[in-house]
């Protein structure tokens, strides 16, 4: 546990003269609970730093945390709770499945949301003008993955595996299209149930399809097992994963040996961002653990939101939305951020990294 | 004309033949007993007549219509009711609710009536209650009407079963060991009850009993089974003195009187 997770109680209220209420939506229970912690911590850190420097336009940020459990129904309840508590904006959102319905709730209430991790292309596709994504979407990522497998590695036969979650299936489908556009052939397009541990029958099927490259689009826990069993069964070709699996636990679960050479498509995570050095240090100091893969993005997301509020000059929701929209080259660890009409990044910054000697490296 | 006719009825369980090529008839309006050693196939016979067991072979005709292969619920609708040797009341329901169940097959209200409380539905509900109440009164247990069946003394439970069977308004009533667990005085009352039932409801009664005093007094006709086969049939006087029956079933008592 950490300071960030126990503050949900200050029920009634709305922003007061001296405080700005900002909602944080993330999964702190359920299978993605760890990511939720990482995100909450980073946002707390950003808010504390801003408050230490005097807050936004003289008002202090007060965070209200809501657990979405990575589940649409819980997310809706959580979103409604945030709305009723009078938050002026929301930051967070790790799971697309949870963020999708929640974004509708914020949209209806006119509340802006800065989505810090969730990145299914379906989120912007809703056309809600209040929603902004600071992570590149699956459209960008699928492109990058296809490019890596087909153009860079010269793979002809590509296998794609997802876990049927909203995000992973979306990424898988987009990647499939991208691969085919680039002249590759998708020889296997499969799904697994992520709660399970044994993927050998699927992998045996893959083995038979003789892929040059295999791409896992879902999360790290099942991904690690998949890689391990992939190697164990001797499936040919390389294996790579999407940004949902970008966590060092992936390597631990797969085992260093099996994980070696796995590629990862991702937005730059803290360790690849030289600018994030001081963030890494203060985060580690405060929470006595290293930041997670989406900590830096969340930290930036909070700062970006604060910037927009201060530019808006008020806590009026519409004004904040307008200010967010007008964000021009806001400096983040990953580069300068501006938004397109649909609320996604003007320029995404997906990179491909690799497991070398049991570590992610460029 | 006979109400029920059984022809060459056989029932096998794996290697065991519990009823073996049995044929007999039940004349309308009679009170008849089926006796025989434990395991002779008496209850099995009832189970086949009421559709709970499917005969291996043979035929059962009720009012000239075959019952083999029919569901128990249908057979009840056709007019055969029974009680169970090992009581099968609805344990967590009151006596009244238990007896009301008997009226199910004689009534027809469905979902519509239930939801909209139609006049027909209300009338039917009243009918069910009054018939059930009458049956409870008739067997003489009205002071237990609202008690839960499972908490009643054994003998009372037996009476509830009889009332419940009566509520189905049967033409043929099958009683499986109605006197078991009753003491002497209660048995006397039971004999009285059985006679009154026939008179009042004008039906045919077949009972399985081990109490020879009761059998002797109440039955007009006796069928004796042993190892699933008929070994004797006739009036009480004939049957109870039949040496085969004495040997297989009654035994020679040291002192003269029949047990009660």
């Amino acid at each position: 546990g950490s300071a960030g997770t126990s503050g949900g109680g200050s029920s009634q209220g709305g922003s007061t003269a001296s405080e700005i209420l900002i909602g944080v939506q993330s999964p702190t229970t359920g299978s993605e609970a760890k990511m939720g912690q990482d995100i909450n911590n980073a946002i707390q850190l950003a808010a504390d730093e801003i408050n230490d420097k005097g807050g936004i336009n003289g008002k202090k940020i007060k965070l209200v945390f809501a657990d979405d459990a990575c589940d649409p129904q819980t997310a809706t309840a959580a979103a409604n709770k945030l709305v009723s508590q009078g938050v002026v904006a929301v930051v967070g959102g790790y799971c697309s499945g949870a963020t999708l319905p929640a974004s509708g709730v914020y949209h209806n209430a006119g509340i802006p949301m800065v989505v810090t991790a969730a990145n299914s292309a379906k989120i912007p596709a809703q056309g809600y003008k209040e929603i902004f994504l600071v992570n590149g979407t699956t459209v960008h990522q699928g492109e990058v993955a296809a490019d890596h497998m087909v153009a860079k590695l010269g793979g002809k036969r590509i296998a794609i595996v997802h876990d049927n979650s909203a995000f992973a299936k979306d990424l898988a489908e987009i990647t499939k299209k991208a691969v085919e556009k680039k002249g590759g052939q998708v020889v296997a397009f499969e799904a697994v149930n992520p709660e399970e541990k044994d993927f050998t029958s699927l992998l045996t099927k893959l083995k038979n399809a003789k892929p040059d490259a295999t791409y896992w689009t879902a999360y790290y826990a099942a991904g690690g097992l998949l890689i391990k069993q992939f190697k164990q069964l001797g499936v040919p070709g390389v294996i790579g994963v999407g940004d949902g699996a970008n966590d060092k636990t992936l390597i631990d679960i797969a085992g260093k040996q099996a994980a070696e050479g796995t590629f990862v498509t991702t937005s730059p995570t803290p360790e690849f961002l030289p600018e994030a050095k001081s963030f890494n240090e203060s985060y580690t100091k405060k929470f006595s653990q290293a930041p997670g893969p989406y900590s830096a993005l969340s930290y930036d997301g909070m700062r970006l939101l604060a910037d927009a509020i201060s530019r808006a000059g008020s806590t009026d929701k519409a004004a904040i939305v307008k200010a967010l929209k007008e964000t021009k080259a806001f400096k983040t660890f990953g580069g300068n951020v501006s938004f397109k009409e649909d609320g996604t990044l003007e320029k995404s910054n997906f990179i491909v990294i690799q497991v070398k000697d049991g570590k992610f490296s460029k | 004309m006979s109400l029920l006719q059984v022809n060459h009825l056989t029932l096998k369980f794996g290697g065991i033949t519990s009823v073996n090529d049995l044929s007999f008839e039940i004349p309308e309006g009679i009170i008849m007993s089926v006796i025989g050693p434990n395991g002779a196939g008496k209850t099995s016979l009832f189970n086949m007549i009421t559709g709970f067991y499917k005969p291996t072979s043979g035929e059962i005709l009720f009012d000239g219509e075959s019952l083999v292969g029919r569901k128990p619920s249908l057979i009840t609708q056709k007019g055969i009711a029974r009680t169970f040797q090992n009581l099968r009341l609805f344990p967590n329901l009151s006596v009244l609710e238990n007896v009301m169940s008997g009226m199910h097959s004689k009534t027809s209200q469905g979902v519509f009536g239930a939801l909209f409380r139609t006049r027909a539905q209300k009338q039917e509900e009243n009918l069910i209650r009054s018939v059930a109440g009458k049956c409870i009164d008739f067997v003489g247990i009205s002071q237990y009407t609202h008690r839960l069946a499972k908490n009643l003394p054994y003998g009372i439970q037996r009476h509830v079963e009889i009332a419940r069977a009566l509520a189905t308004q049967p033409k043929l009533l099958l009683l499986d060991e109605p006197a078991a667990g009753l003491n002497h005085g209660e048995k006397l009352e039971l004999i009285e009850l059985i006679r009154r039932i026939r008179q009042e409801f004008r039906l045919t009664i077949v009972l399985i009993e081990h109490d020879m005093g009761l059998v002797n007094q109440v039955s007009e006709h006796i069928l004796v089974l042993n190892y699933g086969q008929k070994i004797a049939e006739g009036t009480p006087a004939e049957v109870l003195n039949n040496p085969l029956v004495v040997e297989a079933y009654l035994g020679k008592e040291e002192d003269d009187e029949q047990s009660a």
């Binding site: 609970a33 912690q37 799904a191 029958s201 391990k228 164990q232 069964l233 | 369980f13 009832f46």
Partner: protein, 297 residues
């Protein structure tokens, strides 16, 4: 052909896990007719107990270390089982079965979240893992761990079957299942036997959890949920209460899932498996090896 053998091996491995858990499930069910929702969580408890034991040993534990960790896991989970029975089930043995079902759900939530609070929500990597060495047979890769796993579950099944059907304690378990009052009138200490049953069932689940840790290498506090459901399914398919049935049910489920994956795809495999299972139950309402009883009237 090689693919077929490989898939058969895969199916047997998955099936063995299901069987191992289903055995305990069926046993506990068999005695007090309780759908023990917490059973899958005892598998999880076993995995975490083994994890802690191995972590204490630190470094490469070796065969002896692993054996000790197994023992520790089984004892810890066994004691948990007894404790749960004592606190949450025993006082309710006379209540409706659904009542105990609720406490079982409650216990399950407590165990899962208790472990989450103690060990954290993230996936844990098991300190020792089974070697993935093996041999080729007809073109299929089979590891020694896989062989060991399959043998272990067969062995445990045989042992249990013997225990329940040949020993007096086992028979007492079955009689409790039928009629507790009558059993107590035989001079049989009903509660103690129920306790023993929980201990054995939980220890078996823990053995499976430990195996899962060693074999797959990754554990977390929710790991028991799906497996518990699958084991329940397996137990019912085999004929709940029947020990060879639990074993068979586990294997059948493993096969169905594997071949479902092959022919209709991983995302549909559970649909395939459940559809076949429903079909089986429609044709054979008491499961594959469940006894068909004609009720006497």
């Amino acid at each position: 052909m090689d693919i077929f053998i490989q898939q058969l091996t895969n199916a047997l491995v998955v099936g063995s896990f299901y069987s191992l858990i289903a055995l305990g499930y069926s046993m506990v069910y068999g005695i007090i007719k309780l759908l023990n929702f917490a059973h899958g969580d005892l598998y999880m408890i076993g995995a975490f107990a083994g994890f802690s034991a191995l972590s204490l040993l630190s470094g490469d534990a070796g065969v002896l270390g692993i054996a000790m960790a197994f023992l520790a896991a089984m004892i810890v989970a066994g004691l948990f089982g007894i404790g749960i029975e004592r606190v949450a089930y025993r006082p309710l043995l006379n209540s409706s079965r659904l009542t105990i079902l609720i406490t079982a759900v409650g216990v399950s939530l407590v165990l899962e979240n208790g472990v989450m609070l103690t060990y954290g929500p993230s996936f844990k990597v098991f300190p020792s893992q089974l070697p993935i060495t093996g041999f080729q047979i007809a073109g299929a890769t089979v590891t020694y761990s896989q062989i060991g796993l399959i043998l272990l579950s067969v062995l445990l099944m045989v042992a249990l079957q013997w225990f329940v059907h040949r020993t007096l304690y086992g028979k007492a378990m079955r009689s409790i299942a039928i009629d507790q009052t009558a059993t107590s009138l035989m001079g049989i200490p009903v509660h103690r036997i129920i306790g023993i049953t929980f201990f054995i069932g939980s220890a078996l689940a823990a053995a499976a959890g430990m195996m899962a840790g060693l074999y797959y290498g990754q554990i977390n506090f929710m790991m028991g949920f799906i497996v518990g459901l699958k084991a329940f399914t397996a137990a019912v398919i085999g004929g709940i209460g029947s020990i060879p049935g639990a074993m068979l049910g586990g294997l059948v489920l493993g096969l169905l899932e594997t071949f479902g994956t092959i022919y209709i795809g991983g995302e549909w495999k559970d649909v395939f498996a459940f559809a076949i299972l429903i079909l089986i139950l429609t044709l054979k309402p008491t499961g594959l090896l469940g006894e068909k009883v004609t009720e006497r009237m």
